[in-house]
């Protein structure tokens, strides 16, 4: 089978190669990483007949411009970023065919924050500790091709085509109008005051502009923290809501460190971590508590 080359003509705002992450090496201090919205990344790979752990391009708000060399199949899932093939609209959540010389571009943000581009075949990219996901540290050394820049080439060994499939839009799109994020009590939950918890769960919060793949911040959210005993560092996970001494909660995301010294007051449910990944700075979210 011939190779397909993705020639990056414009990189976009924050385009990176991701897969399902670098699991099982957290004891060495290695962040999990991987697609922020795991379900959408898997869905895109499914549509082109790839194994679910095949790398994808994670595209954030402002998409790249990609020039294809060779023929193949692709799929775009996750955020609606107005994808166009040779200037003509193409849908999300569907197996698409591209030909040698075609150009993929993105336009206005219709919904969500992160789109995933899957391309059928085996991606010829660097692996570090079993994953192609961009390393949050020293990416240029550890995962050299994970943050494609203008002029870069991504080589993919193409494979036999699969029948074209068309999935109905995912149900999280409707939830984006008023995202309600399910959280569980974290290990230090009991240290929060009842007043703070009651207030937190009855208000909506705007996602701060400084939010990124490591952590989301919530504008104006505040918990009393002065009374909390100093903590000896312990493990954290993507979805852990930490409370630094500032009292402003921090939601750890996929690129977060593996240990931390701040009280872990809440833990976001796995499925809603994907939903949170589709909420962009400026969106407002609310939280509800459930016991494990």
């Amino acid at each position: 089978m011939a190779d397909v080359i993705l020639h990056i003509e414009k990189s976009g705002l924050q385009t990176s190669i991701q897969d399902l992450g670098r699991g099982g090496v957290q004891q060495y201090g290695v962040p999990l990483s991987g697609a922020m919205d795991q379900a959408s990344a898997k869905r895109a790979n499914e549509l082109v007949g790839n194994s679910l752990s095949t790398p994808v391009l994670e595209i954030t708000l402002l998409g790249p411009r990609i020039h294809f060399r060779g023929n193949g199949q692709m799929a775009i899932c996750g955020a609606g970023l107005s994808p166009k093939l040779n200037g003509k609209d193409v849908p999300n959540d569907r197996t698409l065919t591209f030909k040698d010389g075609d150009r993929l571009t993105f336009g206005k943000v219709i919904y969500g924050c992160r789109a995933y581009l899957a391309v059928a075949g085996k991606w010829n990219v660097h692996t570090w500790l079993g994953s192609c996901s961009a390393s949050p540290f020293e990416a240029s050394l550890l995962t050299p091709d994970s943050k494609p820049a203008m002029g870069d080439h991504i080589r993919i060994e193409s494979k036999a085509s699969v029948p074209i499939r068309n999935l109905s839009p995912p149900d999280w799109i409707a939830k984006l109008r008023m995202p309600f994020i399910k959280v569980y009590p974290g290990p230090e939950f009991e240290q929060c005051t009842r007043v703070d918890l009651a207030y937190f769960f009855s208000h909506r919060y705007r996602i701060a502009a400084s939010s990124n793949r490591m952590a989301y911040r919530l504008e104006e959210a505040h918990f009393a923290s002065e009374h909390m005993p100093e903590m000896i560092s312990s493990a954290v996970l993507p979805g852990t809501i930490q409370l630094p001494p500032s009292g402003k909660p921090l939601i750890l995301m996929r690129d977060a460190q593996t240990v931390g010294g701040y009280p872990r007051i809440l833990q976001v449910a796995e499925a809603d971590l994907d939903l949170l990944a589709q909420c962009k700075p400026g969106d407002t979210v609310a939280f509800y508590l459930e016991r494990v």
Binding site: P187, I232, V259
Partner: protein, 232 residues
């Protein structure tokens, strides 16, 4: 020992909240038991000073059952002779110390006394974190206690040996950081898929001069370095 749920697919085992070798030994012993007895369905294990986070696949493990298993393994571990610790001997060039003046001022020690004291004690690796491969080691002699730098550095060079409070560590890669830099290690802290340290290791530093530092670097580059020597 307490076991708490941590989200849908992890259990947090907690011991008495203190930084002490006896407590930490129980953490790494339980980690070793889990690794050898329960490989199936365990997705990750993160040891820290006095806690161990155990991730599991909910399709394979029911939470209550795993909680009971962990309790049982912790009892078994406490009955057995503790897992033998590796002891690593790590060369440090204390001549490459950007914060030498500040550390001497803060501790009131002259440099040769500082070097003697930092390299005399055997430290314990309590956990890895902050950066891939960064080992939190302790505890320093109280006389070496220094606060973090007022202004953190934007880029601490890779393999810098650093101290703060009663902790010491080596930066595996260039990164921003606020610890006081007291030396540099010629040995890389990780290679492609191998990490020099793991929780529970015993570590002792020994001083090398600039020439010895360069010799070790050259041997590593030429692949003639005797890695067994560090476990001597």
């Amino acid at each position: 020992m307490k076991i708490k749920p941590f989200g849908e697919a992890a259990l947090l085992v907690e011991w008495e909240a203190t930084i002490a070798p006896e407590i930490h030994q129980q953490v790494v012993d339980l980690q070793a038991q889990i690794t050898s007895q329960l490989a199936n369905g365990i997705t990750f294990i993160i040891p820290a000073y006095c806690s161990l986070l155990v991730g599991f696949d909910p399709a394979i493990w029911e939470r209550q059952l795993l909680t009971a298993q962990l309790r049982h393994l912790a009892e078994v571990a406490s009955d057995r002779i503790a897992k033998p610790t590796r002891k690593l001997h790590i060369p440090v060039c204390y001549e490459q110390a950007p914060d030498r003046e500040e550390v001497m001022a803060l501790t009131g020690l002259d440099w040769s006394t500082f070097v003697e004291m930092h390299s005399r004690k055997t430290y314990r690796v309590y956990m890895l974190g902050f950066l891939p491969g960064f080992a939190y080691m302790g505890s320093l002699a109280p006389a070496l206690n220094c606060p973090r730098k007022r202004e953190p550095r934007a880029a601490v060079p890779a393999q810098s040996v650093a101290i703060t409070g009663l902790q010491t560590g080596i930066y595996p890669m260039a990164a921003p950081g606020g610890w006081q830099l007291v030396g540099r290690c010629p040995i890389p802290i990780f290679s492609a898929d191998d990490f020099l340290f793991q929780a529970g290791d015993a570590v002792q530093f020994y001083p090398v001069n600039e020439q010895e530092f360069k010799d070790i670097e050259q041997k590593i580059e030429g692949q003639t370095f005797n890695w067994e020597a560090i476990y001597g």
